[in-house]
């Protein structure tokens, strides 16, 4: 195990965004933190089944999978909708000139 030097709170922007989304949903009463922790724990186990997670990018990838799955199971979001919106964002990036703000049509 390597003991790392001081690090940023969130290594990637999306880590912080994902964290904030989860906190907000919990605070709005959509799920309890205990239920979330259970789901997340299962996802971490799954992701770490055949390799050792380092607690960085792989940790938040497991978090993302857990949140998507949890919200789909509880019908707060649909997997199909998520894929469509993700593709729409991709198209928006690819059709927006470099430097201009990217937004969904």
């Amino acid at each position: 195990m390597t003991v790392l030097l001081p690090e940023p709170v969130f290594e990637e922007v999306w880590h912080g965004q994902l964290f904030a989304l989860t906190v907000l949903l919990n605070e709005a009463g959509h799920f309890s933190w205990a239920d979330w922790a259970k789901k997340f724990g299962i996802s971490l186990k799954k992701h770490g089944f055949d390799r050792e997670l380092n607690g960085g990018e792989d940790y938040f990838t497991a978090w993302l999978d857990a949140l998507e799955g949890f919200l789909t199971e509880t019908n707060m979001t649909g997997q199909k909708d998520l894929v469509l919106i993700k593709e729409a964002w991709k198209t928006a990036y690819l059709s927006t000139p470099h430097g201009a703000p990217v937004s969904l049509k």
């Binding site: 690090e7 989304l21 907000l24 709005a28 997670l53 707060m76 993700k86 201009a100």
Partner: protein
């Protein structure tokens, strides 16, 4: 034309990573459904990036070292004691303070995921979230401590506490020698994040 030369007419925005796009999709959908307030997102990120961190916990420990009545209250009712200093809120609803002594050294882990006392220590470091720490701390705490540079006398026993979504722990390290008469701010500067998780000691008095 070489690959690294772009036709400016076709130059588009850089496509973000796949997880970035997935998070954007989640955020877009949740906002459209009215399930979250978009303005609150940035506020949460800012809070944990800039406002909450181990300095909060250090203030608590420095007060405990300076004020015996507060120390006793911290050990008997940590949630109430830290709330008196203004530290409360998410993931700090139920906190237990663990007293390090010559006989007992406490260390904290979360074997399920990464439960941690956010109001006092902020967001956990990467190593706290790693499989290596989460799995090995329970199995071989002394070895893990040695990797953090923490060597304990054989007569000191190690107690490992497994955090849960409901219960978070704060280790109260022993006050360093040579700090008699120090002000709380001076003491707080000696208290490290790791000393409040149990994977380190406070800095020595200089």
């Amino acid at each position: 034309m070489p690959d690294d030369v772009h036709d400016s007419k076709h130059a588009h925005s850089v496509l973000p990573s796949d997880p970035t796009l997935r998070v954007k999709a989640l955020e877009t959908l949740l906002i459209r459904k009215g399930l979250i307030d978009p303005t609150a997102l940035d506020a949460i990120i800012d809070t944990y990036q800039n406002k909450i961190g181990p300095k909060n916990g250090a203030k608590v420990i420095a007060r405990a070292w300076s004020d015996l009545a507060f120390y006793d209250r911290l050990i008997s009712d940590a949630t109430g004691a830290v709330a008196d200093l203004g530290f409360h809120g998410r993931q700090g609803e139920h906190i237990i303070a663990l007293q390090n002594t010559n006989e007992i050294h406490n260390m904290v882990v979360c074997t399920l995921c990464s439960c941690y006392p956010w109001p006092l220590l902020g967001i956990p470091p990467t190593w706290y979230k790693s499989d290596a720490y989460r799995a090995r701390t329970v199995r071989e705490p002394r070895k893990v401590l040695a990797e953090f540079g923490v060597a304990l006398p054989s007569e000191t026993s190690v107690r490992v506490w497994d955090s849960t979504a409901e219960l978070r722990y704060l280790v109260v390290p022993q006050r360093p020698k040579g700090t008699k008469g120090w002000r709380e701010e001076q003491l707080a500067a000696l208290i490290t994040r790791d000393s409040m998780i149990g994977t380190g000691f406070p800095k020595d008095a200089q």
